[in-house]
Structures are given as C-alpha cells and as structure tokens.
Assembly symmetry: C2
Amino acid sequence: MLQFISMGIWVTGTRVSGSDSFLFWQTKGGNDYKMSNSLGRHVLAEMYGCSFDTLNDREKVETIMVNAALEAGAEVREVVFHKFSPQGVSGVVVISESHLAIHTWPELGYAAVDVFTCGDRVNPWDACNYLTDKFQAGHMTATEMKRGIFETQKEAVNL
Amino acid sequence: MLQFISMGIWVTGTRVSGSDSFLFWQTKGGNDYKMSNSLGRHVLAEMYGCSFDTLNDREKVETIMVNAALEAGAEVREVVFHKFSPQGVSGVVVISESHLAIHTWPELGYAAVDVFTCGDRVNPWDACNYLTDKFQAGHMTATEMKRGIFETQKEAVNL
C-alpha cells in the first residue's frame, strides 16, 4: 500500500478527466478515500431481440453509442463506425475512460456490446442500461470483468 | 436446429470475409460441417511488465495492433488510436471479424487488450500471443468469453 503511494503514479497518472484517479478517489461529499485493486471495469453485454432497422443503420447506431458514452458522463475522444454489406454495423467510441464497442447482427436482432471504463467517475452500467433501452432489447445479459488487477501489499499479522 | 437452418440467415448473413459463416464451417481438408452456438469469441488479456517506451508510443502501439490483426488473418476495416497526456495510448482496430482494442498504462507497464473475433477463420489467441510477444510482456493472463449465444433446439428424450 505504502509502496504504491510512494510511487506517486497512481494518483498523477490519470487518463480520465476530472478529479478521479486510478486507485484513489473521494467519495461524494466527503474526504474519505478508499482503494481498489483494479484499474477498470469491463462489461460485456449481449442484447437480443433488437430492431433490425436500428441495428442496420450506421448513423443510428453511432448516435446511440456516442450518447451512451455522454449519458454515463464519459469524455469522447474518437469515434469510428463501419457498415457491412449486406447488413451489420461495427463501431467503437474511444473515451478518456477507455471505450464502448458494438457489433450488430441485424438479421438476428442481436448486438454484442462492451463498455470498458477506468476510474470511478463513469459507471459502465449506466451506458449499458442506456443502450439496452435505446436498442429496445427484448433480452439482455451482461457480465462485468475487472481489468488490470494489481495486488496490494498486505500487512503481516502474527509474525 | 432445423429451425435455424430453415431461417437461412446463419449461413448467408456473413460479415467475415472468405468462405466462413457464423455457425457452419468446413473443417480443414474435408466436407465435415459442425455447429457452434456462439457467434464469436472475446479474449480479454492483461499484459503486465511491458516496456514503458513501447506502451507510450502511439505509432508503435498502432503498428503492433494492426500487425496482430493481420497475423491472425483478419481483414482490417478501420483503425483509430489516441495518445493521452502525460502518458497512455488507447486504440482500436475494427476488423471484418469484430475488433482488437488496447488501453495502455505505460507507467505501470500494463496493457489491457481485448480481441473479439466472429467466425472460425480467425483465432483471437493468435493475435493475443503475437501482442504478448511484441509488447514483451513479462506476465500475461487472459480469459475467453463466448459472445452471442443462441440456444439450439434439443431433441426430447424419454417423453
């Protein structure tokens, strides 16, 4: 723990905007700092039963994805989307906090979404829920994976 | 099973190049077709102990990521990379088969990589292993997630 603090990289090496840092942050309305041992959260979401027309429209998919990032409070850095023939859209919104990606199979009503955020200011589930709503998914399943896990030093006890 | 076949969308709705399809493919050197019930494979890889200089160089990271896609036999569609200040690179290579994404924390020697491929022609682990090698990761852990799982019809037994 002390080793991390003395390195000074955890607080200053921020890539997220605002006052957040990777491992330390201030809880709302107080001066209470806590520590996490992962750098980010990666939500992989399967959205079924979505509309063909929405999933096959590059502009619509791009707008919804960018708005999902903004809705979650992320800072958008790069946006790239691609329309496949005869159907399907792939695209990514690179944010200061990592990324949102989507691949659609309109003919199956299915979209594979992943939302990766670092820091504590942006909640990937906010974006995920927004997307589920806007794609009008009939069924959604999702899994959150912790990314970049660093072991913290543990105090020796009873030695 | 028959329902899927009769829909005809599994074979014709290809977004991957070449002769692959989502659920049916031909095994090497034969006419043996098999079926999978997932559309894609998503490998999330944690690469630790990488070189600061490589992880902090947008051009190097981009080149390595694009080459990883090509090495795995993927078809590159879009490339977007972003350099953060004071350090860190984020970027994505959109491929016909889905995407490769990376976020680097040079100050920690850490890169969060994910490789998502659909179809059976491109193996995400080929790209992952290439990246582990080129980033000279001292330690790598990875998890593969199945994406887009569609239940197949099961035959009733003993009814």
